[in-house]
Amino acid sequence: MARDLFYMLIFPGFLFLVVFALFAEYVDRKLCAKLQNRVGPPWYQPFADFIKLAAKEDVVPMLADRPMFRFTPIVALTASIASVFYIPIWGHDALFSFNGDVIVVLYLLTIPTLTFFLGGWYSRSVFSMLGAVRSIMQLFAYEVPLYLSILAPALLANTWSLSGMARFYSTHPLYALLNVIGLGVSLVALLGKLERVPFDTPEAETEIVAGSFTEYSGRLLALFRLAISVEMVVGATLLAAVFLPFGLELGAPAAFGLYLVKALVVICLLTLFRTVFARLRIDQMLRFCAQVVAPIAFAQVLIDLVAKRVLAL
């Protein structure tokens, strides 16, 4: 019992994830600044931002649905944190695993997007509703490529468990190279899920103020922002576990250190994409994902199916 509490609240649960998420936000902002020839914030900036926001008053608009308005940020944070328990961090085995947990993780990662939609919808403000609707439209665009590209390696490994996949790819390391296309596709889809440039129309600052988060302030906004940072870290962890499964048999501390490096590399790639692209309009984004990204994801699935047949796995 105490052990489970330790896992849930300290490591790899709440405390570790929150600290890592805020640190990852620092890395993102500092790297973005360096790429733009600026100085960037000091290391404690995201922590200070969180504390400052949490200390401020939450203003709930008069027309908003009070219970839903206050509940959605908590759900967002909880879902993001819960999904990390199934992803192998320090070796082959995740904290809990069963056959089918890759689907559960993907589902848990969809919940934050739903909460962005609900939070924006129940804010009853025009800009929030526009942002909420854009959020859901974007969900249609990137979910298919994301699911396909994460499930393709699972097909090859013949298991629906992330720990099983990790074990399979450790024993057959070269097969991970077949999934390189999937890595590219899921990076793009992850940009859509995290609502970052070039896919950040749901929170386009210059168009709809702040999208779903326009009416949020104080502790609720702090929770939402933390949920987004945690989602970024969990997404990076998922990508590292599925597509970069090397060095997992080195023993727990070394594998854990390697995992941190892999996650930070993925986050740095996300930051690089943020700096070199402009924002796509929602219709351009839908067209891009449907015409370019989804077919490539299908191609990845085909490659894995063919490989499975050829290698008689």
Partner: protein, 142 residues
Amino acid sequence: MKRPGRMISEVLRSVLRKPATVLYPRVKVKMPDRFRGKLIFHPDKCVGCRLCMRDCPTDAIQIRKVGDKQFEAEIDMARCICCGQCVDSCLKKALEMTAEFELAQLKRETLKLTYSVEPKGAGAKASDDKPESDSGGEAAEG
């Protein structure tokens, strides 16, 4: 040739370059000589023609007689737009613009700088109620 991410090479090279930010207030940029900052007044040169008062767009300068052929100036830095027209209008070059631009004060009264003449004998002294004294020249605690 159209391709996405055209700026990537430039962006990656920026990581190695020094940031373009000047870390003010640790590092201060030196202003060029002609920079129009704080105004100072030399009472020994003023003859009281008040052309500066006539031409000031915002009524920022007041010249007052304090003795025989001696004048003091009160410059309200809150009103002064640092255009330098008074400097150009003065025929005796009694006004001068310095390059000092850090003029913020905590109280409105301390923005009024009075440049006065000592009663006959000692020469010019400028008095202003700034809490900290900096800037060269004749500023003294008033």
